[in-house]
Symmetry: C2
Subunit: 189 residues, 2 copies
Amino acid sequence: MKFIVETSARHIHLTPEAIETLYGKGAELVVKKMLSQPGQFATANEKIKLVGPKGELMVSVLGPARKANQIELSFTDARALGVVPPIRESGDVEGTPGCKVIGPCGEFETDSGVIVAKRHIHVTPEDAEKYGLHDKQIVSVRVGGPRATVFGETVVRVSPKFQTRMHIDCDENNAAALAPGATGEVIVD
Amino acid sequence: MKFIVETSARHIHLTPEAIETLYGKGAELVVKKMLSQPGQFATANEKIKLVGPKGELMVSVLGPARKANQIELSFTDARALGVVPPIRESGDVEGTPGCKVIGPCGEFETDSGVIVAKRHIHVTPEDAEKYGLHDKQIVSVRVGGPRATVFGETVVRVSPKFQTRMHIDCDENNAAALAPGATGEVIVD
């Protein structure tokens, strides 16, 4: 089972309320480019500024709008901002740190929402069945190349809404020196 | 065989000539803190500015002086600077990119010397004998924790001048979320 390993640069997911606060009354997210996961997109909206105790970062906004604001950083980003986020799955933001979020038309302070994403593989039900994987399973993924790496503690997420892809962050990409289109394979520990 | 995994932040090694150019005639490197590898030290000298096509970075200077200038960056650093260094072992700088190097008293342009360090383990001859490792051997190293990782393509270097330690860069540290004092172990592929 080989699948493409994609790298997520730092980004923010916003609630409809946050979108109006940052971009103005009636503002909406504008599709710039559809991403590999069906329905998910990079937006053409102006980048958002995050302000933490130690510094600032500009982040892209991903769409569509979500139920909770969520900021996904690498540990490199987090250090620059001055926050210490836990490693979490998307959507699991309870007890995480927050920061100031500044858009062209307004700003707000989040109490929480900053995470470093847990390595994960989006898997279609068909691929899960075919390869004997199940939702929430923890696996290891091997990638090759000059910095060949096995990523342990990788969570499998199965949904008919997915395309089969692994997602890692920029630190993990750099650590493995992955080229665009690089593939990984699940290995048994 | 368990050994401590240490993280090297970006740094520069300088020749005696470069030290005089950057810090002034007769200047020398001043020990701030001895490092784990015998004789190697972090210096108390002012940090050095690197200038590349895309940006600038401040780097610490390690001592003692060497025969060739060498700049060790992570891929995150390299991107900020705007250079594309290869993954190399220390000392193997032929054909690598250079950058501008600016000190408090002078500056110079290097033609080469910028590398991303290849993962490596410094091993004493006693430990090499004990664990069946040999100089230049390529092994994999497993680290545990919330981002458990196996670092492949890790070169073993054996010398009586060493203390047994693995060295990785900041991207690799972040990718594996290693705490200070973390240990690794060689595994057979």
